[in-house]
Symmetry: none
Subunit: 210 residues, 4 copies
DNA sequence: GATGAATGAGGCTTCATTCAT
DNA sequence: TATGAATGAAGCCTCATTCAT
């Protein structure tokens, strides 16, 4: 007899609108009233479905992470079993040619990194998301080491390094467009991966072949 | 009988206090009143010396960049002339073992990246700072290529890639402590530089030597 | 095929929950949603059974008064016919050794006195409750005067005075615990009653007996 | 050179306006905006001079207590040295014929008792005020006992009892006007004091004189 | 009778900025 | 230069009440 519950849809609707405002105006700049307007809801309703503004932010982060994880899984599935291909897919998924590019998500990600700095709950969730990325990449590298394709590599060091680089590309893409030559990100990161996952060679002129 | 001008000291005093609050509370969270209290000045005075809060933020950014540039120059001077050593110095300066580590500056830098997202003037200054880093690194790499130590490298791609990685390490260090194995950052980045600045080798088992 | 009416139970259920919240959070602090949760009902239902929040408050007051009156009658019945005993019972009932103490009801009573100050309907009901107490006590005293045990007393003055004292004890018990020596209230009030219900004697040293 | 500080006046101005609204509308009903309007100040200014609404309430309480204490001291001074007169003055000061009556202060006092119920800081201050009243009265009674005018009295019980009665008269005066016969309060309380401060006599007909 | 989503007004508080002195 | 009081616009959040189902 009561009106059918629609909490899930509403929460999604709110989260969507919040994410869009968040990308453009940052967390403090994202007024609840703005979000309500964007979602075409009354302001009070946002607080009916979320206890506080922070909860909405965390919901946005959750959504971002979940979509990221699902997308990554799908992408990795194509090259399952081949660590080199998986590594390439991992890199392409994150830095690939804009096919999956989502500037809004990217901007939110940067905003979230800023909030992680000063809000423990955001910090925890943000760090967890990064840790999960590192774990997945570590697993790939481990398999590569086991199969002998990544010689002399320590996945426990290489994975965080690659994730850091990806994160850095994100920041530069969002804040200093033009600094990264178009289309170069994935290629460059792959070369960096080569450096990490192969034995060092000294810099210098090509060794003379006898 | 005008009192002696002390604008410069005052501005420095204000900038210092603002930076400290900024690192802890973010831009919107940094109330002018808080800053004034931290600087032991009256709130009104901040607006006497700075037209607006944003101007203080930009002054902080300027100061950060200037100190960074001076420090980098000093560090590079030690290895002047040797591109490989300079590259190592560049990396160590940014990711080295905490000798120069300044968590406050780091946090401000993250905060600034977030503000760059939504404030054109910050964006411009932030991007300029990054561009300048890329330029300096590019010059080093160029010299290395010219001298034959960096074979098959394209400094125009490699420099942004390395700067992106550094930026990424910054973000992770500030937001997800513990994800980067202690002391590994500079080492890993150097290996990544090897990958970028040397000809590719295919992944795989070590070639048999005849 | 109407479902069986349960309005009365529901109203009692709501009133009970409201009283409990009221004691702890005051009138403005008692959110309908809180009350609904405490009563394990939906918020909408409260307004189905009560026209407004104020009506619930008045229902609580009614309930309080009714229970008080019933309890008092029961207590007085034991000493029916003896004005001195009835007076003692009246005092004990209100200030007795905690046997009947109900801190929740006490707190609500204080809250209600505050609301009486600014809400005419509460004021009226609150004053009526006090007037009824005064009336009952007056009747007792009247009988005592008639029978000669209360000499020189004016029940029209004495009854309000005793009720005021009881009210004062309530306030102190609820707001300044510890100020009233434990167990002293009823005893003290009985002595005060002696003062009211007997001819004055001047203060001073005991008269010399010849 | 700066504008002369006027914090004290402003705080007094705000406290005054708040007290006036408080008496009429209660604590929750006293909107900061209302108070600002009544004080002819901008709303923001109230929070410049007081950290929160609660602080204003506490300032009101402080002011009330201070004025009460000063007034009481002045009144007692007239009968210094004579415990009986002091007791009378104490009672008259609180319940006297409206000469000092301040309905606004009275209403605030009731409101404060309600807030004491649920706000620890108010509770503490409120209880302290009552304790101070009890102390002063106890001192008077002690002297009376020492000098033999109050025979068989225990000031540690009598003082709280009298203060409770005064408090009760306050509540009734504010919430149930008309219940206390005009002009009877002080007289009745004095008779109650007789009961408390003299040896008990059994109720009953006047003893036959021989 | 019952549900719980929805509304929208209003409350407290914060804060960048201005200004009289 | 310097002070700190003053302003007023938002901002987040709460809540009594209504209403579609």
């Amino acid at each position: 007899m009561p009106r059918p519950a629609n909490t899930d849809e509403r929460r999604a609707q709110i989260t969507r609108a919040f994410q869009s405002i968040l990308a453009r105006q940052g967390y403090d700049g994202a007024a609840i009233a703005d979000v309500a307007r964007a979602a075409d809801l009354s302001p009070g309703l946002l607080h009916y479905h979320f206890k506080s503004k922070l909860e909405i932010l965390l919901a946005v982060l959750d959504g971002l992470v979940e979509r990221h994880d699902r997308g990554l899984s799908r992408r990795l599935a194509r090259s399952a079993g081949d660590p080199v291909a998986e590594l390439g897919a991992f890199i392409d998924f994150h830095l690939g040619l804009g096919s999956e590019a989502d500037p809004e998500a990217l901007a939110c990600w940067i905003v979230l990194s800023g909030e992680a700095l000063r809000t423990p709950r955001v910090q925890k969730a943000f760090a967890r998301a990064l840790a999960s990325m590192v774990e997945r990449l570590t697993a790939i590298l481990d398999r590569g080491v086991a199969s002998g394709v990544f010689r002399g590599a320590d996945p426990a060091l290489a994975a965080p390094a690659l994730v850091a680089s990806i994160e850095g590309y994100f920041v530069l893409a969002a804040t200093a467009p033009g600094i990264i030559p178009a289309g170069s990100a994935a290629t460059s990161l792959k070369r960096m991966a080569h450096g990490l996952l192969q034995p060092d060679r000294p810099f210098g002129p090509a060794p003379k072949r006898r």
